[in-house]
Symmetry: D4
Subunit: 175 residues, 8 copies
């Protein structure tokens, strides 16, 4: 049984949510990915959440957009920590998704990340698991050191090239 | 069995939602009022919505604030028309409630009214029932004529008194 | 005489509003579609709304953008339920349309759906008619079961393929 | 017949809108004040606007809140310039009123002022009339010089007292 | 000397502001168009506004974006009516422009129109001039009747073709 | 050493943040509470976060308002899960706090809860710890059942009294 | 001649702006305080800004609310650094003031601080002067150390008392 | 040692931030450009800011997007004036960046410019340095006169060509 359950309201959310599974895989955390729609499959939502702890899942990651009820409704059916990812939308760019997910009433929390922040949702799930898994915590510290090293390398290069030459190099890399 | 089911996420919403039951009573429409919390009583939500049509209810009116999932989740469990009332909140004054209710995905509609617009939710429920009840439609037309008459009377008084005297009369009436 | 009158402020709203007529047709509900501009044809608006009940219409669906006065003004001239569709706009992405439609004063309700939510407006009109038409209610329940089945099928496929392969399949389908 | 027609959607708007009539009176411009509700008295709205030019009115000033349709609907029924005053609201502080008034479609303009800006609406009506009334334009220039003189006097006092003493004097004046 | 002075903060605003001069020309109203930047040419702003009445201008139309100070600063230097056009911006889509123009303090009004609403600014200038020019008022009424006729024609065509065929015809017209 | 570290930017945040320590205490979770200001004590921030894991803390809960940098900067110095509480503010009611906390860049997640949602922050910390503490998970399930029971009791009372009598009882209880 | 000129659009802004003069006085920086209204005294604005450098002023601090044109217009007439303070407003809580001040076009910068952030405006003026005044820079470092010490003292007290006792002590201090 | 340190959170901000270095170079002000990430290189941030004054830097310019903590955290570690540039973002177009930068608590100011306003950040840094460098102040005045001359030239051309011909010339220039 995987440790993390990644769910989303629609397969149109997959391009965003796949970043959560990718980072978890890179960190050696087992995860399953599926679709659970709060509005179109409400019974599946109830079952998925109600059985999650029994099935051995330890964290849920849920992405949804617009009137985004999936993360909050999952959190109503389980005591597992639920990480919510507000998906960007056309009319409100994700403000609707964000407020629908983060403004939960007292009693039922959802751990909300940035709009389209699925990568961070995966990392947050890993941090949660690492609270009782020192080896994973060490891998997360290594990940952070890598992030730092990447920035330091780019900083050194920018200082050496100067902004104009760096900018030209950037444009070429894009092409 | 009443025609309209009025539900709210918390009894703190009752001062607003009681306006829905009051206007329905005034129009001679039968209604029941109760509490159904999407997050604290998710099973009750499922049951209430799933049984609503069978129990003979014809319209649901649901008020909720913040990450307001109640109206949308009811609409996921029934094909009855659901009227959603966004309750005003402290941090976002109801913008969170409004977006959480109105921005439903294609397939599951919620008939949303103004922030704290419970009176209009009741009137909308009555209009929905009146689509197949000519007598109720006539009572709604009478209600509209009354609204018009009230405005005309005030307009006549304002034209006769002038703005300053009318304003003074208003202040006294408040005191 | 059709049961639903679908109106819009401008023919530039038709690509959105045609989703309302399409879903009503699919559900076997009769509808007429026309243009009524609150600002450019105010007399037509008055006539259309004032005669709607007499002509046998049972629900109005109205789409408008910006200072979107059409749904609210229709609701001022008839006691039929009016469903308002806020059309997305360039400067405010539909926030102006949404607030202009949903924030009606007490006495005159408009059943507001999501920005560009014309499909849901059609479904809401169907739910309203189904309140007194058991056969239509059954068709709506079948429609909901279809939505559910579609999601379950996709969920099964995603679980079987895994997120990466599903994502690749998605991209190919788009191409 | 007065030159300016000041209308509002409800007598609850009068405390704000009375500032328009007061400044017009101070500038020697004749005005009438009455109530016209777009939603509760739609026929009165049509008549008031359609007859305004014939009755000799030259400018309309209209205040409304929430889904504020009054100024725009007046402007649809007359070619007189219409000044719109967005009234502050509880849930959205007047953002709803502002967008409902200012975001008119091409063809039908409304001259919008600040939220609760009824005094400026009166001044704008006076500027419009002054475009063909040199004496009124001169009175407006005198008004502007007075505003300037008031500020200069306060500035001199603040420079002479210093901020602390001035602040103390201010607080006492309030008490 | 023309009746209307159309100014803008930058020639990048011209694609929008040219709609004001076009509609005024179509209505037979004389206008001049030029650039006045509140921030880059503050002395020119002072001169343009201070001399406007003396030069015989009767209305000013000013477009500006972002921290849009041009319309308000013009209104501070003249008693002519000033119509402000908030230009759409990249970061805030014109919300910054709108609030910078419409939220003027008591004493100095600006007649604000919709974001990018230059056509309506021209029409508003015409309405202002028509308050003392019956012939222009008649031309504005004819313009309104034309708008109405155009909508009625499209409505008739949509009713005759039905939404799908009309939509196809629309798409072809675009191609 | 406690399991949870609760920190806030200023003691003015304590009335809100004390709800986090209270709920953790009620759930039998050990916690420490202190002040760490990202801006006024940046060295303390670095030390607190960098030592947190070594000291045996397992989750951090951080409240901050306005340009709320505390939660994100803590998360930059530790791999422990950090729960962020946006504190309500005067000018933007907490929108500034929320966006400053939730919109973290890829690589460094913060688990954001509602504006002033310190109780939920405490509950989220408990859920995180419960991922590896079955007894705590059971206490959280009992807590959820209690929430449900409270609502059911109130629902029964509202159904029995009806909305008016219940409302009167509510008002008396407040007095 | 003082180093800093503190100006505001109206004496109603003084309760906020006096915090700028107070902190500058505490830091030993000379400042003058006066009223300059962009809209009611536009000539005074031009003179004040155009003469500022010649008079020996080195930094301007300007507070304004609503359509807040004062800081930007000052910056158009001088090359001195101008610090803008958005004053909180009734309808938009200062969002209008903030956007009117911060969204200046390329070429004319305004150094914007938080809504009602006059204390920080004073501190920013001091930092600007300290760029060429090492003694003032040292006083600013001492000020920062004091801020840090205050927080550390409160943190120690909170850790020693615990949140409940500290909260009680806070409440008593307020009473 | 250069006078200005230009830093940014990521090299993806360089296309915007290079405008700051370009304008400083044009004005003859020495600057260095590098990358400092508040979240990925927090130690580098501390060092960069803490050493800035000692290294002889006089002003810092910092660009960041989303939960933009870089400018504020720099300002916490130095008493040099810090100019913050909110970088435009996908979900909130820079509103998140702006509020995260400008809403700093009392004690620690950041001089905020417009979203993507890096050119103005460079100009503001120059104005700050010019407060004690009369020659630079003169160059800034020359720069302002150039801006003015450019506008006057365009204005003359627009007045001579008229809006239509100018617009055509503009379009050709773009092609």
């Amino acid at each position: 049984m995987p440790d993390v359950g990644i769910v989303m309201g629609s397969d149109s959310d997959l391009p965003v949510m796949a970043e959560a599974s990718a980072i978890l895989q890179a960190l050696g955390v087992s995860a399953e990915t599926t679709i659970v729609s709060a509005h179109r499959t409400p019974h599946r939502l109830t079952e998925y959440a109600a059985n999650a702890r029994r099935r051995g899942l330890k964290v849920l990651v849920a992405g949804a957009g617009g009137a985004a009820h999936l993360p909050g409704m999952l959190a109503s059916h389980t005591v597992l920590p639920v990480v919510g990812v507000p998906i960007q939308t056309k009319a409100f760019q994700g403000l609707d998704s964000l407020l629908s997910i983060v403004q939960m009433p007292a009693g039922i929390p959802v751990a909300t990340v940035a709009v389209n922040g699925a990568k961070n949702a995966g990392l947050l799930a890993a941090r949660i698991l690492a609270a009782s898994d020192a080896s994973l915590a060490d891998r997360l510290e290594a990940y952070a050191r890598n992030l730092e090293a990447e920035v330091l390398e780019k900083a050194a290069r920018l200082e050496s090239l100067g902004p104009e030459a760096y900018l030209q190099a950037l444009s070429k890399a894009v092409l």
